[in-house]
C-alpha cells in the first residue's frame, strides 16, 4: 500500500478541471485508490466522490493506492497535482 500526503495550494481548491484530470489519471491504474480529507474517504476514480469532498484551499489530503501498480499510480497522481497547480 502506498500513501502520500499533500497540501492543496490552489486558490479554488480541487475544482472541476483538476478533479476531472485526477480522476482520469487514477482510472488508468488497477489499484484501488482513495482520497481522504477531513476523515472522509472517497474513491479517486469517482468524480462525484471527489467533488463531494469539497476540498478547498490549504486543505491537507491523503491519497492511498492499493494494488499491483500502486507505486506508479501515486507517482502519476502526484505529477498531475503538480501540473494542475494544486500542489507545489
Amino acid at each position: 500500500m502506498e500513501k502520500r500526503q499533500y497540501n492543496i495550494i490552489a486558490e479554488t481548491g480541487i475544482h472541476a478541471r483538476p478533479a476531472t484530470l485526477l480522476v482520469q489519471t487514477a482510472s488508468k491504474f488497477n489499484s484501488d485508490i482513495t482520497l481522504e480529507y477531513q476523515e472522509k474517504s472517497v474513491n479517486l476514480k469517482s468524480i462525484m466522490g471527489v467533488m463531494s469532498l469539497g476540498v478547498g484551499q490549504s486543505a491537507a489530503v491523503t491519497i492511498t493506492a492499493d494494488g499491483d501498480d500502486e507505486k506508479e499510480a501515486i507517482d502519476a497522481i502526484s505529477e498531475t497535482m503538480k501540473a494542475e497547480g494544486l500542489t507545489e
Partner: protein, 574 residues
C-alpha cells in the same frame, strides 16, 4: 409562406433554415420491473449513446469555440464514467426493482442535494448543474426524446427559441448561427443585447406562435424591421437576398468612418464609445472604431463561471481591456448582479420584484467581500490604462459615499502593499429616478455621470422592459424621459462634469439629434451602432439640435410630437 412581425433587435438580414431550441419533455413515471438485468442493459445502452454524443460535442466545441468551452463536456463524460455512481444506480434497480429512469434520477438527485448543500464551496455547487445536464441527456435516450444541442449545429441556421440564456449563446458558433428569432423580450432584453454584440441579426418579441415554425423551414429574419417570413416565395427570397447585399454594402461604406474622430458639422466633438459585456465584444468595439469603452459590464465574470471570480481572474480581464484600448478611456461598471441574473453559486433569494429588489450596488454593499475583491482587481488594473469606475443602481448619496469609502480603503491597503495604483475617475450610473432628480447633489461627489437609459426609462414609465404586454410604454422619446435626461446633463454641466449615456438610447438614430442638442459628452452603444451614429452626427449642426432639444422638452406632450419635431429638424440632412 407565412409572414410574422416582431421587434427589430439587431440589424441585418438572415436567410437560413430554422433550428428550434426547445426544452424537451423528460417526465417519466416510477415503474416496477421484473427483469433487473434487462433494465440495467437498457441503462448502459443509454449511457453509451450519451457518452458518444458528448465526445462529438466536445470535439466540435473544441474545434469551433476553444478548449475552455469544451471543458464542461469533458466533465460530463467523467460523470457518466463514475464507477461509484453507476454502482448505486445498478443496485437501486436491483434492490428496489424500479425502472432505470427512476433509479438514475434518484441517485443523481442525491448527489445534487449533497452538492447544493456545500454552501461554502460555490464551484462544487455549480457542479450540480452538470449532473442535472448529464441526467437529462441519459433520460432523453431512455425515453427516446431527442435533446437539442446548439453545439451540434453544423450548418447555417436561424435559432428559434422562446428565450436565450447566456449558456445557450456560449455554445453558438458564429459561423453557423446566422440569425435569432425569439418571442420573449424587447430591444433591451438580454438576448437582444447579446445578438447585437455578436452582430447576429435578431427579431425578438415575436408576435405569433413560434411552434408554427418547424425545424428545417426556410426562414427570413429581418433584424432591421422585425419582419419574419417562414418558407418564403422565390420572389421574396430574391428580394431579401438583394436587401442583404444592400445592407452589407452600406456597412462597408460606413467602414470609412472607422478612423475618424466623431464630430458634428459645426465642430463639436462628442465621444462615441462602445458597451461591451465580454472580452469577445472588445474585438467588435475596436473593429468599429470606438473612441473608448463607455460601459464594460462585468457580470459575465460572475455568470460564465462556476465560482466567484477571484481577484486575479478579474485583474487579468480588466488589464486586457485597458491595454487593448491603448490609453483610450475605459469605464468599468462594478457588478450588477442579483435580480434577473441568477447565480447558482450565490444564494440570492427569489424576489417578487427583482428589478426593484436586491441587486447591483445594493448587493455589493451588503456583500463587502465580493465587492472588495472586485475593487482591488480594478485598482490594480488602473496602472495599465485610462480607467474610470462606476457604480450601478445608485439611489442615495449615502450608498455612493459608502461605495467610495470601501474603494478608498482598498486603495490605501494596496498602496501600503506597494502595488502601483493610478488615480481612477469615479462615476455613477444614473438609472434610478431618485438619483436622476438629485443629480445636482450627486455632482458634488463624482467625476462623471453615465445615464443608464434602459432601466431609467422602465423606472420612469413603471413598465417592465421585457414584458410584451406593456412594451408600448417603453418610450425613450416621451417628454417625461427627455426632461429628466436634460436635467441630469444640465446638472453635470453646471458643475463642470461630463455627462455620458450608456443605455440603448445612446445608439438610437432617432434620439441622437436630441442628445447632441442637450450637449451629451459621450454616447456609448453597441459596437454595431457606432459607425452609423458617427455618420449621423457628422451631418448634424449642434446649434440647430439645441433648438430641437429645447422644443422637445418644453413644447411636446407626447412621444409622437417629439418624433415629429425630430423629423422636422433633421429633414434636410436625410
Amino acid at each position: 409562406m407565412k409572414e410574422f412581425k416582431g421587434i427589430a433587435a439587431s440589424d441585418g438580414i438572415a436567410i437560413a433554415s430554422a433550428f428550434r431550441l426547445t426544452e424537451p419533455d423528460l417526465s417519466f413515471k416510477k415503474r416496477s420491473i421484473t427483469n433487473a438485468s434487462d433494465e440495467i442493459k437498457r441503462l448502459y445502452a443509454a449511457i453509451d449513446v450519451s457518452k458518444d454524443e458528448l465526445l462529438t460535442i466536445q470535439q466540435r466545441t473544441l474545434e469551433d469555440l476553444g478548449s475552455n468551452e469544451a471543458e464542461v463536456f469533458k466533465a460530463h463524460v467523467a460523470i457518466l464514467s463514475d464507477p461509484e455512481m453507476l454502482k448505486r444506480v445498478k443496485s437501486t434497480i436491483e434492490k428496489e426493482k424500479v425502472n432505470a429512469e427512476y433509479a438514475l434520477n434518484k441517485v443523481t438527485d442525491g448527489y445534487i442535494k449533497i452538492f447544493n448543500s456545500m454552501t461554502d464551496n460555490e464551484y462544487i455547487r455549480q457542479r450540480s448543474t452538470d449532473i442535472r445536464d448529464v441526467t437529462k441527456r441519459v433520460l432523453s435516450h431512455l425515453l427516446g426524446v431527442p435533446l437539442v444541442d446548439p453545439a451540434l449545429i453544423h450548418h447555417q441556421v436561424i435559432i428559434i427559441a422562446h428565450d436565450l440564456t447566456p449558456s445557450n449563446t456560449a455554445q453558438f458558433v458564429p459561423t453557423y448561427v446566422k440569425g435569432i428569432v425569439s418571442d420573449m423580450g424587447g430591444r433591451t432584453s438580454h438576448s437582444a443585447i447579446m445578438s447585437r454584440s455578436l452582430e447576429i441579426p435578431a427579431v425578438v418579441g415575436f408576435k405569433g406562435d413560434l411552434s408554427e415554425i418547424k425545424n428545417g423551414d426556410i426562414v427570413i429574419a429581418d433584424g432591421s424591421t422585425g419582419n419574419v417570413i417562414v418558407n418564403p416565395t422565390d420572389a421574396q427570397k430574391d428580394e431579401y437576398t438583394q436587401k442583404q447585399a444592400d445592407y452589407r454594402q452600406r456597412k462597408s461604406k460606413l467602414a470609412g468612418f472607422k478612423y475618424e474622430t466623431t464630430s458634428s458639422s459645426d465642430g463639436k466633438h462628442p465621444i462615441i464609445a462602445a458597451n461591451i459585456g465580454t472580452l469577445e465584444d472588445l474585438g467588435g468595439a475596436i473593429e468599429n472604431g470606438a473612441e473608448g469603452i463607455g460601459l464594460f459590464r462585468t457580470e459575465f465574470l460572475y455568470m460564465d463561471s462556476n465560482h466567484l471570480p477571484t481577484e486575479d481572474e478579474q485583474f487579468k480581464v480588466y488589464k486586457t481591456v485597458l491595454e487593448k484600448m491603448h490609453g483610450k478611456p475605459v469605464i468599468i461598471r462594478t457588478a450588477d448582479i442579483g435580480g434577473d441574473k441568477d447565480l447558482p453559486y450565490l444564494d440570492v433569494p427569489e424576489e417578487a420584484n427583482p428589478f426593484l429588489g436586491y441587486r447591483a450596488i445594493r448587493m455589493s454593499l451588503d456583500k463587502p467581500d465580493i465587492f472588495r475583491t472586485q475593487l482591488r482587481a480594478l485598482l490594480r488594473a488602473s496602472a495599465f490604462g485610462n480607467l474610470s469606475v462606476m457604480f450601478p443602481m445608485i439611489t442615495t448619496i449615502n450608498e455612493l459615499k459608502k461605495a467610495k469609502n470601501v474603494m478608498n480603503q482598498e486603495r490605501i491597503k494596496l498602496i501600503r502593499e506597494k502595488v502601483p495604483v493610478k488615480p481612477i475617475k469615479i462615476g455613477i450610473m444614473v438609472e434610478v429616478p431618485a438619483a436622476a432628480i438629485l443629480a445636482d447633489q450627486f455632482a458634488n461627489e463624482v467625476d462623471f455621470m453615465s445615464i443608464g437609459t434602459n432601466d431609467l426609462i422602465q423606472y420612469i414609465m413603471a413598465a417592465d422592459r421585457g414584458n410584451r404586454m406593456v412594451s408600448y410604454l417603453y418610450q425613450p422619446y416621451n417628454p417625461a424621459v427627455l426632461r429628466l435626461i436634460k436635467h441630469i446633463i444640465d446638472a453635470c454641466h453646471d458643475n463642470n462634469l461630463p455627462a455620458y449615456m450608456c443605455g440603448e438610447m445612446a445608439g438610437d438614430q432617432t434620439a441622437i439629434p436630441i442628445l447632441v442638442g442637450m450637449g451629451l459628452n459621450e454616447f456609448s452603444m453597441s459596437a454595431s451602432s457606432i459607425l452609423k451614429s458617427r455618420a449621423l452626427i457628422k451631418r448634424l449642426d449642434s446649434r440647430e439640435m439645441v433648438t430641437l432639444a429645447n422644443k422637445a422638452v418644453t413644447m411636446a406632450s407626447t412621444s409622437e410630437e417629439v418624433t415629429a419635431f425630430i423629423r422636422q429638424a433633421t429633414n434636410h440632412i436625410q
